[in-house]
């Protein structure tokens, strides 16, 4: 278990690239939560939560959505 089976050099080589234009999407969830103007307000309240709290908690979903999307879009064929 501790030592993975070595694969052929060709198999490793196909993965030797990491560049994709989709990676730029990752900037969205990095920049948006750092702009207080978007969320620094009490109204509207959702389920009693001021906007400051519900919107920032919602940004967690934004982060998950973007990282998942980028992962799926940049995953190479044949990879897990």
């Amino acid at each position: 278990m501790a030592t993975p089976e070595p694969k052929t050099p060709a198999a490793a080589k196909t993965r030797a690239k990491d560049k994709s234009p989709w990676n730029w999407l990752l900037f969205v969830p990095v920049v948006v939560p750092l702009i207080p103007a978007f969320y620094n307000s009490d109204s509207p309240r959702v389920l009693g939560f001021p906007r400051f709290y519900w919107l920032q908690l919602a940004y967690i979903l934004l982060g998950v959505a973007v990282t998942t999307l980028v992962y799926q879009l940049t995953k190479r064929r044949g990879d897990r």
Partner: protein, 554 residues
């Protein structure tokens, strides 16, 4: 009095004993062929899959202290304490690709610590030593703070004593057990215990955020109660929203903390223990589940306000210990068996990161001080032995910090720790992308960033203290006509980068010799099963023929 808390203490003790047994059994878990190797003891065999990595890194980053201190901050200051949420949102997309590069290059070269990488990338044992020492110094108080988390719980259970030694006896025992099973099982112990810790935390917090608002009249009521409290307080910078003065602090603190998090040696240990790049990428989407938890835990601070919780007295007369508000809130609002489970969650929550941190600090010492300067020809078995012993020393040091010094000292040091670990950003994080910086310039940048950061923290006063009062540096000290504050670490790392860049240009123009680069561009994309990893000889950092420390053979 502890007699009022017998149920809680019994459940706490039972769960604590359960995880202790698990910690010892962990040495046989995913049975290693030979434990006498740093890859096994210190990195769990570098073979953890998605689930284990998720529990391990989650248990590693979201510590007991975080769970106690963040609601305490929200209780005391309001919106400012919620910085933990944007902090843990921006972190994952930011490091998504960076960590994959770090994993790949470490996988191919057998690096165990960030300083190992710096050593090879910049061909500079001095820079590697600085990174290692920075990492150890930043991690030590963090371990001590985990004890503060346990202490908050013990205090709420009435487990106190007349003398300092009697008061600290429970955590001394707890840490002795922790030290013993970490010594035996290495990283496998916290990885296995993390399952229990996180299961407990998720159950407790979900129950709390569903039940408490119902009991306290709804979320709207809770926020209104907090608003009323902050409106009545004399402090101009508290409130359930940010104001014009602390927005920059909020953003720079969230961003700066995010930059710092994966520079901490214990975070990197968790990442390097994973099996392949895929595990890391999937975890960047899965770890935010803990951020939801942290956000909800932060709001416990407001619930404590709505429930009119009074914090317990602090270490010195006349002070209060805000870190006790969550334990006290649970004690007031929940039946004692559930409170016991909640306390155990916090207590066990302290053990997981404390174990990983001590392993990370021990690995740094072994690889970048012992092997580099004391014993160049150390065998893998000797490395593992030294690391195991160092992990014991680190834990004794952490306990000593709490027993013999004011806990406030550890809190100050942790504040400093976040600022100083950021100063390794140019060498470690940017170093993964570019070899452009001159090694001499990186050392100079580090020195400038460290000095500026320390000076800024020293200048920050709080209502109760004249120095080290926090990380919010008033911009008027730089001559700006404003009442705004900014995160000291953020300014320090900017200065560090500027110096490193400017000096690189100067040194290149002057043609001062720069070291080589022992990594190659395709090292940064290597994945599991890479043909160039020689598993027969995992001796670690490329065996350097030239000795910098002089003749140290033997």
């Amino acid at each position: 009095m502890w007699r009022d808390h017998v149920t809680e203490i019994s459940i706490f003790t039972a769960l604590f004993l359960l995880v202790s047994v698990m910690g010892f059994i962990a040495s046989r878990w995913r049975a290693p062929k030979d434990m006498a190797h740093l890859d096994e003891w210190g990195l769990g065999g570098r073979n953890f899959g998605g689930w284990i990595t998720w529990f391990l890194i989650g248990g590693d980053l979201y510590t007991a202290y975080t769970f106690v201190a963040v609601p305490a901050l929200v209780f005391g200051a309001g919106a400012m304490g919620f910085f933990a949420v944007p902090y843990t949102v921006v972190i994952y997309p930011m490091v998504f690709l960076v960590l994959c590069r770090l994993w790949s290059v470490s996988h191919r070269h057998g690096f165990v610590t960030p300083a190992d990488f710096v050593r090879s990338r910049f061909d500079s044992p001095v820079l590697a030593l600085l990174v290692a020492i920075t990492g150890i110094v930043a991690t030590m108080p963090y371990i001590a703070l985990q004890l503060v988390g346990i202490e908050a719980v013990l205090k709420a259970m009435g487990v106190t004593g007349e003398t300092s030694l009697a008061r600290h006896l429970p955590i001394i025992i707890a840490f002795a057990i922790l030290a013993a099973y970490t010594y035996q099982s290495g990283l496998r112990a916290p990885a296995l215990i993390a399952f229990v810790k996180d299961a407990l935390i998720y159950v407790v917090i979900l129950a709390a955020v569903l039940y408490l608002p119902y009991k306290l009249g709804g979320w709207g009521e809770i926020f209104d109660a907090a608003d009323a409290k902050f409106a009545a307080s004399p402090n101009p910078n508290d409130g359930i929203l940010l104001n014009a003065n602390n927005q920059v602090q909020y953003v720079t603190l969230a961003f700066g903390s995010a930059l710092a998090l994966f520079l901490y040696p214990h975070s990197i240990t968790g990442v390097l223990a994973s099996r392949n790049r895929d595990v890391i990428k999937r975890n960047m989407s899965a770890l935010p589940a803990y951020s939801v938890l942290l956000g909800l835990i932060a709001l416990l601070g407001f619930m404590a306000i709505a429930a009119d919780v009074q914090p317990l007295p602090g270490a010195t007369a006349g002070t209060v210990d805000n870190n006790t508000i969550v334990p006290v809130l649970f004690d007031q609002q929940f039946p004692s068996w559930f409170t016991g489970v909640a306390y155990a969650a916090i207590g066990i929550g302290a053990l997981v990161p404390a174990a990983i941190m001590s392993i990370a600090a021990a690995n740094l010492f072994t690889r970048n001080i012992y092997k580099e300067y004391l014993r160049r020809d150390a065998t893998p078995a000797q490395e593992a032995k030294v690391s195991k012993l160092t992990s014991l020393v680190v834990k004794i040091g952490a306990v000593a910090c709490i027993v013999f010094l004011d806990p406030q000292f550890s809190i100050d040091l942790q504040l400093i720790g976040g600022v100083i670990i950021l100063q390794t950003l140019p060498a470690v994080a940017l170093g993964l992308y570019t070899r452009w910086f001159h090694r001499g310039a990186l050392i100079a940048g580090w020195a400038v960033g460290m000095s500026l950061g320390m000076w800024m923290l020293y200048q920050v006063s709080s209502p109760t203290r004249s120095h080290f009062g926090g990380s919010a540096f008033p911009l008027e000290r730089f001559g700006f006509d404003t009442t705004m504050t900014i995160y000291a670490g953020f300014v320090a790392v900017l200065a560090n980068l500027l110096v490193a860049a400017a000096l690189t240009l100067v040194l290149r123009t002057a043609q001062v010799a720069d070291g080589g680069d022992r990594t190659s561009p395709d090292d940064y994309f290597a994945d599991e099963g890479d043909p160039r990893v020689s598993l027969g000889d995992r001796r670690g950092v490329d065996a350097a023929p030239e000795s910098v420390a002089g003749a140290s053979a033997g």
